[in-house]
Amino acid sequence: MLTITDLSVAFPASCVQALSEVSFFVAPGETVGIVGESGSGKSMTALAIAGLLPPVAKASGEIRFWGRRFVIGVSSDSDWRAIRGVELGVVFQDPSIGLNPLLSVGSQVSEVLRFHLRKSKLEAEKETVRLFNLLGLYPAKVRMRQFPHQLSGGMKQRVMLAAAICCRPRLLIADEPTTALDVSVQAQILCLLKELTAAADTALLLISHDLGVIAQLAERVLVLCAGQLVEEAAVAELFSRPAHPYTRFLLASVPRLDLPLALKVPAIEDNDQLLSGCGFASRCPERVSKCLSNPPLIRLSHGRKVRCHNRR
């Protein structure tokens, strides 16, 4: 349904290669997780799919989405507008700054319905009430009239979710949807994400640095490191038998009660984002001399890929 081919994004002004030749796909109704540290290019992937890369970015690649074809750098903003909001919903990290402070939250959901589905004001409001009830924004009629500053972070994220799914998109991209929320609220939002996507058969592309979040929701996981796709695996396999040293490093970085905090975490160095070579080479404990040349992405088994010279 969603196929991404050779997606590259660079910022020439600051000499940063945010993404290099990332390719992957998402099947209808599937939940795919993307993990990686901050700066690994996760959010850029989300922005690229929605055609929202900043104008200073130099990007290339091709995106196929439900029969439509977008060539980054060629397709115009209006091409993308045909899917945004209707077939593709996006939820971003921080709900506290994501809503227009001057409009009531209800109108920010219903305006999406009116804009895309040409619903009348009354119809759109009815539908918004239904959505608010579905998302646990009680009492819906009161909540609708409230303004963003009157709602908590978790409630705002529910509103964002409502606006993203109100047109029943085929794909929902959730970019760190719970990072800015309290831990107690995180679980509720994740549950909602799971229920909503399952019920409407919406595919979900879940982006997070939190392996716990990924483990709960995703069926398949993509690991990004320094803008490269370094590993792809079904969620169970990734957690039980990580193939790439970077994945092992990520898994080991999760604090655990049953193990001592033994691993020394090497920090990201300046030369980390070299244009050639494995993105993890400078920090990799298993590095060999070959790692200065970029390893190819190798298919290990069905649906399992890894980018490492030194695989076991």
Binding site: D77, R81, R84, V112
Partner: protein, 316 residues
Amino acid sequence: MIRILLNRLWQTVIVLFGVTLITFLIMHSAPGHPLQANPELRLDPTAVERWLELQELDGPLPAQYLSWLSRLFRGDFGMSLIYNRPVLELALERLPATLFLTVPAFLLALGLAISCGTWAALRQGGFGDRLLGLGSLAGLSLPSFWLGIILMMLFSYGYPWLPAAGMRTAEDSSVLDILIHLILPLTMLVVGSFSYYFRYVRYAVLAVLSQDFIKIARARGFTELYIVFRYVLPNASLPIVTVAALSLPLLFTGALVAEYVFSWPGIGRWIISSTLARDYPVIMAVNLSTAALVALSNFLADLLYLLIDPRLRFKA
């Protein structure tokens, strides 16, 4: 919300009170007898005598202040020392001409600035943005009186297309004639105000554009135009309203100069000649009423805020 309003109202009252006090003190610290101070000027001796008598009748300075204040409340701004006629009457005669110049100038400058400022901000760093940025900086640096003189040299004398002075050719001129007379002073006023507003609008729009909710509105598939009118402009209007209200003294000064340069028969020209002639009651009344006008428009801006911004209307 009511509390904010009352608070602002109270502050406005304090400011207005301060303005009357300062105006009064400035006038009464003036050295010498008004007639002696400028013998060659056209003050009416009988009017001056009456004015001085009135002051003596009132007694010491605080008493004079209080009786002046009470006369103000009754709408009595005193008598002009030049014309020996009530100040209010003289002002009302000249007000329409001034409004005819300033209101279109204000609307035109603000309207142009909002459209150009938004356009430039949406194309930040582009050629048009740079050109407008530099142009507005230059417009801000143009001394308005010099601009007026240059305009006059170019279009009234160099190429005699437009009249250089006055508001009408004859007493019974048509509206078209007045409009033709309006072109040069209006241009002069608009250049300065536009440059001033443009910079603020552009900055305000840029600040809104960098907000996350704009990116998210794009992700929801709205068209650029929809986003500009429903998201960008309403949010940018808060600082724009502030600047428009705060800029009124500037507009007033601009009108003063424009009327002087182009002999426009409005309040501005009258103020300048009254000030030069030390027509004290006129100076006091004018200083006071312009300051009051600005204070009130600031209060009005606060009201507009409440209308625009729900964060001020409802506490979380």
